[in-house]
């Protein structure tokens, strides 16, 4: 069973995602802030990371940068899942190494799951 790390400060969204990921046979681990997310990524070496950008302590862009600097973690695909829809944010995240950039309001849960499967090569 593949492990997905979800770094997102909205606990309600964590719950919803936990449910839908379980149904799709993934194990979800979650972090509510950037620092915890980074630590969990190091400890658990997840197969994929879902990352929000507006986060307490360490914001998503910084987390992204730190993940890509770490040789042990830099291969993990990262899907950015955020409310920020400015082109500048998209460009910045993709340049920093994000695999996919999704604006929350533009996708249904089902579509997000499809993107996760794609990024995992399933």
């Amino acid at each position: 069973m593949k492990t997905i790390l979800f770094i997102e400060d909205e606990s309600a969204l964590q719950k919803t995602f936990g449910e839908i990921l379980k149904q799709n046979n993934y194990k979800m681990i979650s972090a509510l802030d950037g620092e915890t997310g980074l630590r969990l990524a190091q400890d658990e070496k997840p197969d994929l990371i879902l990352l929000d950008l507006i986060l307490p302590r360490l914001n998503g862009f910084e987390v992204l940068k730190k993940l890509k600097e770490n040789p042990q973690l830099k291969e993990i695909p990262i899907i950015v899942l955020t409310n920020l829809e400015e082109v500048s944010s998209v460009e910045k995240a993709i340049e920093s190494g994000a695999t996919t950039y999704l604006v929350k309001a533009q996708y249904s849960l089902e579509e997000v799951i499809q993107k996760i499967k794609q990024a995992l090569g399933e």
Partner: protein
């Protein structure tokens, strides 16, 4: 106030940019203009006084007094102007923050509902489904409203992003038509798309132009009451592309026509025919067209239909 701060105060145009105003509406710029007028009128007073009044000290005092009074008046006026501009900027910023904040809970509601209606927690009864549908529709409506509000606040603060690239308007229209096909079928509307041959590619912002046409098409679809017809015409007019959309809908009564591009204005017929909308669509469309150096307008007759048109430069 340190030196850098003082210099930034002196940079009039950057101050104007902060409010998203044109120079002629901008307090700092107006103050500068008033200053120039005051100085030149003082000089004029001085040269006139020199000619007709003997005592040079009296001339100097009179000129000085007039200049001082004028400067004080100018300062008071521009200062209150600036306060107004600041309030308006804060209002736009407030709308911006609120709409961003509303997005998270909205996504939570819509995604949680998606889980419920996917029947993964058990079968959804017909009775329940109807209410889920109401929640879903209204969630989507709110999402649209939030995104419209965000666009308005960006328009007002002058921060609407424009990314210009090569755009095939024909392809864009075809794409929108296929997006709208289910609605058109459901509402029994026939759509025709005529275009002149050899319409060139535009150099413009794809998503902004799409937004304009989407707003116009959306209005045309929603304001048709029975079996309807929509016609889209695309023409080249000199340096401009002319887009026109004609419907045989309920039309806009004469007395409402002058308000149609105003923010939050909703035609009375809108509520009569239960058309749901924010009253922001045409305001947004007009603002985008004007930012792209184009023009927008319409002709409409009650009970007969409306024709909306806009132009955008081929290279904007």
């Amino acid at each position: 106030m340190d030196l850098k701060n003082i210099f930034s105060q002196l940079n009039v145009l950057s101050g104007c940019k902060k409010y998203g105003l044109s120079p002629w509406q901008c307090p700092q710029f107006l103050f500068l203009i008033m200053g120039i007028i005051i100085i030149s009128s003082s000089l004029a007073a001085w040269s006139l006084g020199n000619r007709y009044i003997e005592d040079p000290t009296a001339v100097a005092l009179i000129v000085l007094a007039i200049t001082a009074i004028l400067f004080i008046i100018a300062f008071i006026i521009t200062n209150s102007f600036e306060r107004l501009a600041e309030v308006s900027r804060l209002k736009s910023e407030f709308i911006n923050i609120i709409s961003h904040q509303l997005k998270s809970p909205l996504t939570n509601i819509i995604w949680a509902l998606e889980i419920l209606t996917s029947e993964k927690f058990g079968k959804v009864e017909e009775q329940q489904e109807r209410y889920f549908k109401i929640i879903e529709e209204n969630g989507e409506r709110m999402k649209k409203l939030v995104s419209d509000l965000l666009t308005v606040s960006r328009i007002e603060s002058g921060s609407l992003p424009f990314n210009k690239q090569k755009v095939s308007l024909e392809g864009l229209i075809q794409e929108l038509i296929s997006e709208f096909t289910p609605f058109l079928r459901a509402s029994n509307i026939e759509l025709r798309f005529n275009k002149e041959p050899n319409i060139p590619e535009l150099f413009t912002d794809y998503s902004q132009v799409k937004q304009i046409i989407k707003i116009l098409l959306d209005n045309a679809v929603h304001y048709i009451k029975t079996k309807g017809e929509i016609e889209i015409n695309l023409k080249k007019r000199g340096r401009f592309i002319y887009f026109e959309i004609r419907d045989n809908g309920i039309g806009i009564p004469k007395e409402e026509q002058k308000y149609i591009f105003q923010k939050f204005f909703r035609a009375e017929s809108g509520s009569k025919y239960q058309v749901q909308g924010s009253g922001l669509g045409l305001y947004i469309a007009k603002a985008i067209v004007e930012k792209l150096d184009g023009k927008i307008g319409f002709k409409s007759q009650k009970d007969i239909g409306s024709t909306f048109w806009f132009t955008i430069p081929i290279k904007s």
